[in-house]
């Protein structure tokens, strides 16, 4: 078993690729039973900075998560014109709608909502 903390880049990569359970499993024996966010210290700002350095991860994240059809209790990311938009869906109603000029910032906002990360 590894010793906490999980390095920032590994935290972010595991959140982006939804492999954080496996990542936590490298540190604790029962990852599914843990309060996963206890082990994640990254912020939305750090995720955005990471994605600036790894734009291909932003693209693959968008390709996957913009396809989600669920309309309630989930964040949504989509493209509108030249901008990207992120919102929380409440029975199809977007709440906390935000516009972004870049894909990286939009993906960072989506991850922040998805996992309830602090923004800064």
């Amino acid at each position: 078993m590894k010793t906490f903390p999980i390095p920032d880049d590994e935290q972010i990569h595991s959140l982006l690729t939804r492999t954080f359970v496996q990542k936590i499993g490298e540190y604790v024996p029962n990852p599914l039973d843990t309060d996963y966010m206890r082990y994640f210290s990254v912020t939305g700002t750090k995720v955005a900075a990471y994605l600036e350095k790894h734009p291909e991860e932003a693209k693959s994240y968008f390709a996957r998560w913009s396809q989600v059809k669920t309309t309630h209790d989930v964040p949504k990311i989509w493209r509108e014109g030249t901008n990207y938009r992120v919102a929380w869906l409440d029975h199809g109603m977007p709440r906390d709608l935000e516009d972004f000029a870049t894909l990286e910032k939009a993906v960072a906002a989506h991850v922040t909502l998805e996992f309830g990360l602090p923004k800064n």
Partner: protein, 372 residues
């Protein structure tokens, strides 16, 4: 040679921006008139029964003055301030004592806030009142009350109330084409309102008011008729709108049924989520905006699904996991009956999630229950 003093030229230039930012004289005049009437009312020189008469005339004058005023922020702010104070005056006439003026002043502004009609002017007026002498620290326990319709929300401190006002919720806009149903809904409301106004005025007291204010019946009748024509045109021009609303009724409900709600610091709310959320894209997770009140979880998942309306298209949530969250600050939220459910659902905007602290030891796996 006649020289113009530089100080004079400077003073002209300095005065220009101030003049440009000043509200329209007609609005300023009405503001002064209203101030005088409020003072008269407070000192017993204006009888409650005369307030309605004054307000009716004043509103008419205000509409004219506002229509003629240039659309500047100064005019908009003053107009909003006048409207707020006018509500104060109406409230004082209803209650009938001087003490109520101060209370109702805050209430009217708070109602505007809670009905999401907030403007910068209302916010600044609310802050002014919150920081004014009558609302000082010594009276917090007595007066830290905000009124929303029939609800009275009591704050522990003035700071809590002020903090809430700094975190005003923003009304959402629809994501998809459901907004096309809004004009039809407005038209329907206008039609009902116009018809109701005619019936109400003609049958229940219209004659009595007409005796006191000659001509008002004709003016109200004309206004109602115009409203009815507009409403009818709305129905004729937008035949497709109701069809959209029928296809997605839950979207309209999500907007219309929200009521303001405040989660006080220290209060506990609970939430349920999908058991396989880590593996299923689009499933409900521990973080989210939907909560229920109280420090207890449903007896089983089936109960949560039925009571919280989780068994409708668009939701991936088997409700087999749940947990409690503690408010670490005062959280402005909204309350509604869960759509397709029966339990009260608290909706918290994402920007306030940082004020919720997950209680790890409360994380529970709920038994599935008895499927029908």
């Amino acid at each position: 040679m006649n020289l113009i003093p530089i100080s004079f030229i400077m003073s002209v230039f300095l005065a220009l921006p101030a003049a440009a930012a000043s509200p329209a004289p007609a609005l300023l005049h009405l503001d002064q008139v209203l101030t005088q009437k409020i003072q008269d009312r407070a000192q017993g020189r204006l009888a409650p029964e005369r307030v309605a008469e004054f307000v009716l005339r004043f509103r008419s004058d205000l509409d004219v003055a506002n229509a003629e005023a240039p659309p500047t922020s100064a005019n908009a702010d003053l107009h909003a301030r006048i409207l707020s104070r006018l509500e104060d005056l109406v409230g004082s006439a209803n209650v009938g004592n001087r003490e109520s003026i101060r209370t109702d002043s805050r209430s009217a502004l708070s109602r505007a806030y809670f009905e999401e009609k907030t403007t910068p002017a209302v916010i600044s007026e609310e802050k002014r009142i919150l920081s004014s002498e009558p609302f000082n620290g010594n009276r917090d326990a007595q007066d830290g009350v905000v009124v929303s319709g029939s609800r009275r929300i009591r704050f522990a401190t003035r700071h809590a109330a002020a903090n809430l006002l700094l975190n005003l919720p923003i009304p959402p806009t629809p994501l998809n084409d459901s907004e096309s149903s809004s004009p039809a809904g407005a038209a329907a409301l206008a039609a009902i309102g116009a018809t109701g106004a005619l019936l109400l005025f003609a049958g229940w007291g219209g004659d009595e008011i007409e005796k006191r204010l000659p001509g008002v019946k004709l003016r109200m009748g004309m206004a109602a008729a115009v409203g009815g024509v507009i409403a009818t045109a709305g129905f004729m021009l937008m035949p497709a709108a109701p069809l959209v609303a029928q296809e997605q009724p839950q979207i309209a409900s999500a907007t219309e049924e929200l009521q303001p709600y405040v989660i006080d610091e220290g209060k506990i709310v609970n939430r349920v989520w999908h058991s396989q959320w880590q593996a299923v894209d689009g499933a409900s997770k521990p973080s989210g905006s939907s909560f229920c009140e109280g420090a207890c979880l449903p007896i089983h998942a089936q109960s949560a699904i039925e009571r919280r309306g989780l068994n409708i298209p668009g939701i991936v949530n088997d409700a087999q996991h749940g947990g409690l969250f503690r408010a670490v600050g005062t959280i402005p939220a909204h309350l509604r009956t869960a759509i397709d459910g029966i339990e009260g659902e608290i909706v918290i905007s994402a920007r306030y999630w940082h004020l919720l602290e997950f209680i790890p030891e409360s994380h529970s796996q709920l038994p599935p229950g008895n499927p029908k």
